[in-house]
Symmetry: C2
């Protein structure tokens, strides 16, 4: 087995703050060949999720571990990046279940994927099985497999047993999770009421979301519109909606919650409006609403390896049969923040 060093460039921060201020790209010392029971991996693609921004801002409960590197005169620094597709470059001399060229994703959160390469413990990664060609599993799929599709899968699975034909309502429907919800729901025969912000190209977005399986697409403005409520009654044919998914919070979510029927569950996985979740108490008391949160990191901590594998296999099956496609936009724009990790052209690239 060859013993190769890997050059390493990474996005780092040394103190929390505005990503445009505190992030920098650094060339770090070459990674040595992997120790006996380790793996070295190259990161092929490392997505940016909204939570990565919160990690850098210092407002997220999970944080990457502190690193030190005397050789580059950095006292203490952090490599952000929770999710990514690693390709196994070399397996340490004591061997493992992994082989060179395997695709792996991160089992441990905040592994520091915004880097060109890393040495990892085999226990901290999961191999992604690739079917013989032609596989529909793209690098973009694999790189975004840890957080968003499992979040969608978990929220559609863990709170209420939905039957074919049942309705799910969600906001932020064009988020990566929202798109996964649409596709997984469609594959299960569920129907989705999808809400997004109003925008000049709403018709185009509606068309895109419909093309991946959205049953209905509305804007938040429509939530205050009686005609929309009437239309929703008609399309749902009076069938009560028992699952609502929320990544927005604020007034839009209060209004969306009134669409829910009796014994419904509202599951929040984000708060993009930065407004609290404000709901009439009567929905809880008289309509028996239950409000939950969903955090994929907690699920990974709590689930058994069997549950986790079953979830990934289910999602991988949906990717292979074409039910779950790459996110329409898997690059997330943030204001005044531009990063390109060279030299990997397909790596992190925000503008």
């Amino acid at each position: 087995m060859s013993k190769r060093s890997l050059t390493q460039r990474a996005i780092i921060f040394q103190s929390h703050g505005d990503p445009s201020q505190v992030l920098s790209a650094k060339t770090l010392p070459d990674l040595p060949p992997p120790p006996p029971s380790s793996l070295s991996v190259r990161f092929a693609l490392s997505p940016i999720n909204p939570s990565d921004i919160n990690v850098i801002q210092g407002i997220y409960p999970s944080q990457p571990h502190v690193r030190t590197s005397k050789e580059v005169e950095l006292d203490e620094y952090y490599i952000p990046g929770n999710e990514g597709l690693g390709i196994v470059e070399e397996v340490g001399s004591s061997g493992s279940e992994f082989s060179e060229g395997d695709w792996v994703i991160m089992k441990r959160s905040q592994a520091g994927t915004w880097a060109s390469a890393a040495i990892l413990d085999p226990k901290d990664v999961i191999r992604i099985p690739r079917k013989p060609n032609p596989s529909k599993l793209t690098e973009a799929h694999a790189a975004t497999l840890t957080v968003n599709p499992p979040t969608a899968w978990g929220m559609l699975t863990k709170f209420i047993e939905l039957k074919e034909g049942d309705w799910v309502v969600q906001n932020g429907a064009n988020s990566a999770v929202g798109q996964a919800v649409i596709q997984i729901a469609k594959r299960r025969g569920l129907q989705t009421l999808n809400f997004v912000r109003n925008r000049p190209n709403f018709a185009e977005l509606k068309e895109q979301l419909s093309s991946i399986g959205a049953t209905q697409v509305f804007t938040y403005d429509d939530l205050s519109d009686k005609a929309t409520k009437q239309k929703i009654k008609e399309v749902t044919a009076g069938k009560e909606i028992r699952l609502g998914l929320n990544c927005v919070g604020g007034k839009e979510t209060s209004l969306m919650a009134t669409l829910l029927g009796k014994d419904a569950h509202l599951v929040s996985y984000g708060a993009m409006s930065k407004q609290p979740l404000s709901l009439p108490t009567s929905l809880f008391i008289f309509k028996n609403l239950t409000s939950h949160g969903y955090w994929q990191s907690r699920w990974y901590q709590d689930c058994s390896p069997q549950e986790r594998d079953a979830m990934f296999n289910d999602i991988l099956d949906m990717i292979e049969d074409g039910s779950v496609r790459s996110p329409l936009k898997w690059r997330i724009k943030t204001d005044g923040f531009r990063l390109v990790i060279s030299p990997r052209t397909r790596n992190l690239d925000i503008d």
Copy 2:
């Protein structure tokens, strides 16, 4: 068996509105002797709960049935009153499990207890067993047994398994439910953090609530006070609080929710502030908070007769062993609203 008619006076309303405007006391036609498979009962005590006011205002989901009475020239009217202690006056000729003098409470909601007497279906009432003298079960206990103690019992039982020494936090701690929570919690070896509105006689109220078993009593103002948060940390010795009970809503509840630990349940059974329940989404996502509603009427609909009997027996045991006393104030004052149903001196009496 005698065949007696009963005179009947009742509080009635004919249209929804402000109770002081729409309620009136009427003498209704005498009740005939009970039909073969019925009971006639006299109401000994008929409490007023906040929900009764909401029923009259027309903003409550349950409503009493419409009645008509040509003899007193009333087209359509309603008798409010959900809860009450009935004493069996006469059993219809086909007999039943009931006997003259039995104490009964209402199984059916909105039975119309704000009356001196009624003819009832035996299926709609529950007999309250009275232990041989001396029984601690007073008429006030029995009359208030349907709603408030079961609400406290249900909220302490149905959402999370609490162990001796665990903490429960609640607002509206001096409400009838709040007092029942304090007493049932105490009897189970649980500790309670109780919040009430600030008031001139706070020290007296604190003393009263402590005397029935409250571990700690604070005002809502204390929720914004760092010293109080520190004190709570000390008294709970860092033990996470996993059950919060809310009948207030609004800002006070948002603040109270931040006292809850991981995997906690917030259960709402009222909204006395008339403000929505507004909570940071992060509590749901990262602390795994679940927010529920509790409605005793739904519980009665959903539970089995065995569950219901077990609950009543548990509460009756606690009354008999002195753990649960009559509410400190079982008369509820409402502004500009004074009612006395004559001639029963111990009946409804609000000032």
